[in-house]
Each structure stands twice: as C-alpha cells, then as structure tokens.
C-alpha cells in the first residue's frame, strides 16, 4: 500500500466550479512528487486538501493507511511551506525556526537541540540571532524551509516555496532541497508552475490542467514522451514543436505527411502504425540545420540565451523552434533547411490530443 494516496478526490465550489476533478494519485514514502501546471489547474487546491486547509467535496486522503480526509490541519502530520511565507518579523531566526516546536509544547532543551541541528544542516548557524528583515530574500526562504522541516512531519507540503526568488537563488535552493531530501527521505509534495523546477527536482512529476491529472511520470518520461498535447506544450522551454498531418502507409513502412507544405517524413517501423490524422511532436534540440533537410524555413528571430540560442523559423509546416549552441549568424528573413531527428519524434492523435 502506498504511503499517501488520493482516492477520487474532488473539490467543487459553491458556485459549481470544479477545481479538482476525481484525482487518483499514490505516493510512496520518501518520494519527492511535484504537482506542475498553469494557474488555476487545481494543483494548489489539491495540496491544500492534503494539508486539510481545504475540505474535499468527495473522495479520500489516506496517510500511512488511515483516512485523514476529515481531520483538522493540526491533527495531520504534515508541514506546509507557503510561497509568501510570512516569517514573524518580531522573532529572531532561532525563534522563528523553533516556533512550530514550541507551539507543540516541546521541552525547551529539545527545541534548542532541533533548531541547532537544522540550522547547522542548512548553514543558518551564523544568522540565528538575526531578525528576518536583516536577511536576504534567499536566507528568509531558507529559514522558512528550516521552520517547515524542524518538526519532522510525515509529509512536507510545499507551495511554490521558491516563487519569489531570482533564478540563481532558485538553483541554490533546489540544490539545498535536493541535498536535504537525500538526507532525510521524507515524503514531499511540491507545487510549482515552473516546468524547469519540476523536471529538475522531482522523482515524479504530476502534470495538471483544468483540475485533472494529465500525466504522472519520471521527469524524463514526461519530457520525452508527453501523454498528450497539453503536456507536450507545457513541459519544456520552449514547449514541443507540433506539426499537423497524417500517417500514411508507404510500402511496408509508414510515413508522416504534413497538412501544409507536403513534407514527408519516414517514421520508424511499427511506430503507432495505424493511419489517420495526427500531430507530430519534436523537441527543439532534435531539430538540426541541414542543407539537405526536408523542411525549408525562414529565420524569424533568435532568442539568445547566453549558453544556447532558440532559433525561431517560419516553415512550410508552421512555426518551429530549433535549439543551437550559438547564434546561426544569419540575418532575419534568411532561408535555411532543417531535418528532424527520426528517433525523437512523438505522435499524437489530432482529435483526442492523446499520445499514440
């Protein structure tokens, strides 16, 4: 039996809006699971139902075998870390971190010991006597993280804890969280809208949209083999390139023929062979400039990223983004040809949007 399970969990608001639809999810002990999706997809509502801050309309939350759906937040063994975590401004870092323990009436000596231990682990020792306003934003988040984990809850629930940090601080915190996770093996459910954060942190990613789970899988699976067109677009920066067309038989094999531009691509044998209307997906790093390539395009713009470049092309099959190590050096409007790596193609059913 899994450690934490959500069974047909649903949240319907008074006005009939369904925020979370019939969610089924099993989480193993020690896993870091990331709920990923755009605003309004239901990820935060799901987290809040696990925390008990939001009452489920129907369904069950089960933790370590017991049904906790009706328990108050205080009686669930969970530690919640919020995006705008309000540290108590009039308390020192030591008092802030120790707050949940004192609230649970732990003896003073134990509070001191646990705070010292977590502060040492997170390199907050020199800051224990400081007040939050004296700390950088990153250190404040570290204190919030330390406060959340000081209690050793059965599950950590993290709601965009890195949301207000800049990119470098986020990377630093991801390293910290990872290091921490490896040490403690405590189950964590983490909510974010940032697909990069999700891919880099998660043991498993749960992609949500419109209150539904679209895909559950390891980061590599979700990225390489998206379950549907939504996941294909949402995961990856940029999202997957998508080309409309159909699968046709060619002798003993199959081929993809684009809806516009009449570009024909041979597909690996046996791949999703049934004929019909499909959308072909390919990641930007699997498109390569090739003078003999089947797709002709014109350079629209280049997004310089420092260590790479996203090259936007207008082509006969629609707009494509190609990843290159550096700028192509071509002027806007220049013509070039590209090929797609045949081993890295995804096929989706155009009507249902689902992976073939």
């Amino acid at each position: 039996m899994s450690f934490l399970s959500l069974e047909r969990l649903q949240k319907t608001y008074g006005d009939g809006t369904i925020a979370v639809r019939d969610i089924e999810l099993s989480i193993e002990s020690g896993e870091l699971v990331v709920l990923l999706g755009p605003s309004g997809c239901g990820k935060t509502t799901t987290l809040r139902m696990i925390a008990g801050l939001e009452r489920a309309t129907s369904g069950t939350v089960r933790l370590a075998g017991s049904d906790i759906t009706q328990l108050s937040p205080a009686r669930r063994d969970v530690g919640m870390v919020f995006q705008f975590y309000a540290l108590y401004p009039h308390l020192t870092v030591r008092e802030n971190i120790g707050f949940p323990l004192r609230a649970a009436r732990a003896p003073a000596a134990e509070v001191q010991r646990r705070v010292d231990a977590v502060a040492a682990r997170m390199e907050l020792g020199p800051l224990l006597a400081s007040y939050p306003r004296q700390l950088s934003g990153g250190d404040q988040q570290k204190v919030a993280l330390a406060r959340a984990i000081v209690r050793h809850p059965a599950v950590y629930l993290m709601d965009e804890p890195l949301g207000t940090l800049d990119a470098d601080q986020r990377l630093e915190m991801r390293e910290l969280i990872r290091a921490h996770q490896l040490l403690s093996r405590v189950t964590t459910i983490y909510v974010t809208h940032d697909q990069e954060e999700a891919l880099s942190l998660a043991d498993r990613v749960v992609v949500m949209d419109g209150g539904r789970i679209r895909q559950v899988g390891a980061p590599g699976d979700v990225y390489d083999r998206p379950a549907d067109l939504f996941v294909a677009r949402f995961v990856g920066s940029p999202g997957m390139n998508l080309i409309q067309g159909e699968v046709v038989r060619r002798g003993t094999g199959v081929a993809f023929v684009s809806a516009t531009g009449a570009v024909e691509l041979e597909l690996p044998l046996g791949s999703q062979a049934s004929a019909g209307s499909v959308t072909l997906g390919v990641r930007c790093e699997h498109i390569h400039e090739d003078a003999a390539g089947p797709i002709a395009g014109r350079l629209l713009m280049e997004e310089y990223l420092g260590n790479a470049c996203n090259v936007h092309l207008e082509t006969a099959v629609g707009r494509l983004v190609m990843r290159t190590a550096q700028s192509t050096g071509y002027a806007r409007g220049s013509g070039l040809r590209v090929r797609l790596d045949p081993s890295q193609l995804s096929l989706f059913d155009s009507a249902s949007g689902e992976r073939r």
Partner: protein
C-alpha cells in the same frame, strides 16, 4: 538596429531621494527602432530611471533628449510616452474594450468614435485579444490582463514605450510566450522600447542592446552577446548567465593560474598581477568522460586548443531540466556548476574529470572587480 541619431538620449542624469542616490550620472541612448533592456537587481534604480524618462519625476541634474530635443522640463503628457507596469493597471469592472478606449478618450485627444473603434480593433488584433473585448477585466487571467495592459499602452501609438518588469508576475510558461510576442510586436510597431527587468534570461533573449544598471550607475552597455562574453566587471559577469559564472580564486605559480587546491587551470602571462579571480561560464567547463562534452569540443575546434589539463572530482548534483543538464561539484577550491546540452548518464557521487576552455576564461582583479 540603432539609427545614426538616437531617439532617446540621457546625459549625466542624477536623482537623489534624501540621502539615497537613486541615479548617478546616467548616460544612455536608445535607437528609434530598438529594444533596449535595462537589467539590474532590485534597488538598482531601474524604476526611477523609467519614471524619469516618462517625466513622472524630474532629475536633479542632467538632460533627457528625445529626437534631439531637450524634454527634461516637459510634463509626461507632452513627452508622448507610454508606461506599462508590473502590476496590470486595468479598471477591473470595465470591459477590455472600455479599458482600451480609455487612453483615447483623454481630454484634448478629440478622436471620433470611428477612429477610436479602429484603433482598438488594431491593437486587439495585434495582441490577439479580439475575443476578449467584451469581457470584464476582472475575469481575465494574469496573462490576458497583461496583454490588455500592453494594448492600452500601444493603442494611442506613443513615440516611446517604457515597460517596467511587465512579465514578472506571470507564470513561467506565459513569460516565455509573451517574451517572444513582445519582441515581434515591437518590430511591428517600429517604435523604440525601453524594457526594465531583473531577469537576465529576459534581457539576453529580448534585447537589441542591454544596459546593466547597479546602484544607480550604468556599469556596461552593449549587445547581449558582448556583455555575456566580455563583461566589463565581476558584477556584470555575475549578473548574466544561469547558472551564474563560476569564480575560482587563482594565483600565478610556475607560469600557470593555479587554484587554491593546486589545480593548474591555464597558462598565465609572465607579467601583471599574481592573484586573480578566474571566471568561467558553466558551459565552458568540460566533463572529460562525457560523450556530450566531446561533441561540444569537436564543434568548437578553435577553442579546443586552449583546454586546461583535466582534474578529477565527484559530482554532487545532476539536474536534468529538458534540453540541458546542470551538474555541480566541488572543484578547484570552489563549488562549480557545469552545463551540458542533452542528457548524461552520470549520477551524484560519480567521478568525473574537469577541464576549462581556457580561451573562454575571464580574469578579474580580486579587489577592484574589474577585468585584469
């Protein structure tokens, strides 16, 4: 990109708030068909700079010129600029259409209903918000609101657009999409735009030119690529790049820049300082046994010649984040990040050999922070 005579020109602009110097002797130019990005951390003076250009506050010293004319003493309305803020400043109970019409109905504009209608349609089509025109602003998503806010700025076709972190409050995915749309939109409008942000990825990917601002001063101005590859100081070097540039404390020993743990990184010139900070971007550290990094080497033969000898370490972190992989380890006396294209099969704890692409290393004076 930048025309011979700049559209916007700031000379020696300074502004104080009590004891705080918000802007110090700022020199800045923007061409008439250019997207200029002002990049700096919180408190760098970015918003003060935009407000000064807009005329919402007067500088204590210095001159602001537009199209060769001194506008320093002019009111905001006489400057004909549009400002878009981080927080979508819409009237929540009004429809999108009414929000877009509002700037056109300002006293003194005297536009006919037909003209107003045509302008609103033009802006809505450009921003792909036609289907939202009759919706109440409070019912829009964050991304839709920011599109409408931008629409409200472009609808009166000002001479200059000023955008203050317009994408900061949006979801990562939306930011990515709007970034591209804004660049395309500006090209279509052929109007100059000054875009302020703290996000280096936004700056690098969107800008025709970047101005790096820190503590109210311009540290460097130039093409994104030049600033990324040849930063004028340590502060600028650290401001661009994600993960940040690796910095290794080095001494000149036996003709080599040598790290504190004895790692020989690259040959050093015989003269000059004996200590330096060696800056090396994460993509210019090579993982010896990785097939991926040898591909990188092959594609960059000129650089390959200047590679330092390898030195072994253990990986602490391997992050797959889509098209690239970020790795971290302790090496050459520092915690370093390495970025490679694609996936690697390596895991934390694995031994790897690292080298730097010496030709891409930057040497900084450890005290002054400038290039040495």
């Amino acid at each position: 990109m930048s025309s011979p005579a700049p559209f916007l020109c700031l000379r020696g602009v300074s502004k104080r708030f009590g004891p705080t110097r918000a802007l110090s002797d700022v020199e800045l130019q923007a061409g008439s068909d250019e997207l200029l990005v002002v990049l700096g951390p919180t408190g760098a003076g970015k918003t003060t700079l935009l407000r000064t250009i807009a005329g919402l506050q007067k500088p204590d010293a210095g001159v602001i010129e537009m199209e060769g004319r001194d506008v320093t003493a002019l009111d905001p309305s006489q400057r004909d600029v549009a400002l878009v803020f981080q927080n979508f400043s819409l009237y929540p109970r009004w429809t999108v259409r009414r929000n877009l019409e509002f700037p056109l109905r300002a006293p003194g504009r005297n536009m006919t209903e037909a003209e107003i209608g045509a302008r609103v349609t033009w802006a809505a089509e450009l921003l792909q918000i036609v289907r939202l025109l009759d919706r109440e602003a409070s019912r829009l998503s964050g991304g839709e609101m920011q599109r409408v806010a931008i629409g409200r700025a472009i609808v009166r076709r000002p001479r200059l657009f000023l955008l203050d972190e317009p994408l900061t409050n949006l979801d990562a995915k939306l930011r990515e999409v709007l970034r591209i749309e804004l660049v395309a939109l500006r090209r279509e409008l052929r109007a100059p735009m000054v875009f302020v942000t703290h996000d280096q990825a936004e700056a690098l990917s969107m800008a025709d030119r970047i101005v790096v601002l820190s503590g109210g001063r311009v540290l460097q101005a130039g093409l994104p690529r030049d600033i990324y590859e040849r930063p004028s100081s340590l502060v600028v070097a650290r401001q661009l790049g994600q993960p940040a540039i690796n910095l290794l404390a080095v001494r000149r020993i036996d003709g080599h820049w040598t790290a504190s743990d004895g790692t020989r990184l690259m040959p050093a010139a015989a003269t000059g300082a004996s200590e330096a900070l060696l800056g090396i971007r994460p993509e210019h550290i090579i993982l010896e046994d990785s097939a991926l990094s040898s591909t990188r080497l092959d594609s960059d033969q000129g650089v390959a010649a200047g590679v330092s000898p390898a030195r072994e370490t253990r990986l602490k972190l391997v992050e797959h984040a889509g098209a690239t992989t970020t790795l971290a380890c302790d090496w050459a006396g520092a915690h370093v990040h390495i970025v490679v294209t694609g996936r690697v099969t390596l895991r934390p704890g694995d031994r790897v050999q690292l080298r730097i692409v010496a030709a891409r290393a930057l040497l900084f004076d450890p005290r002054a922070g400038g290039l040495s």
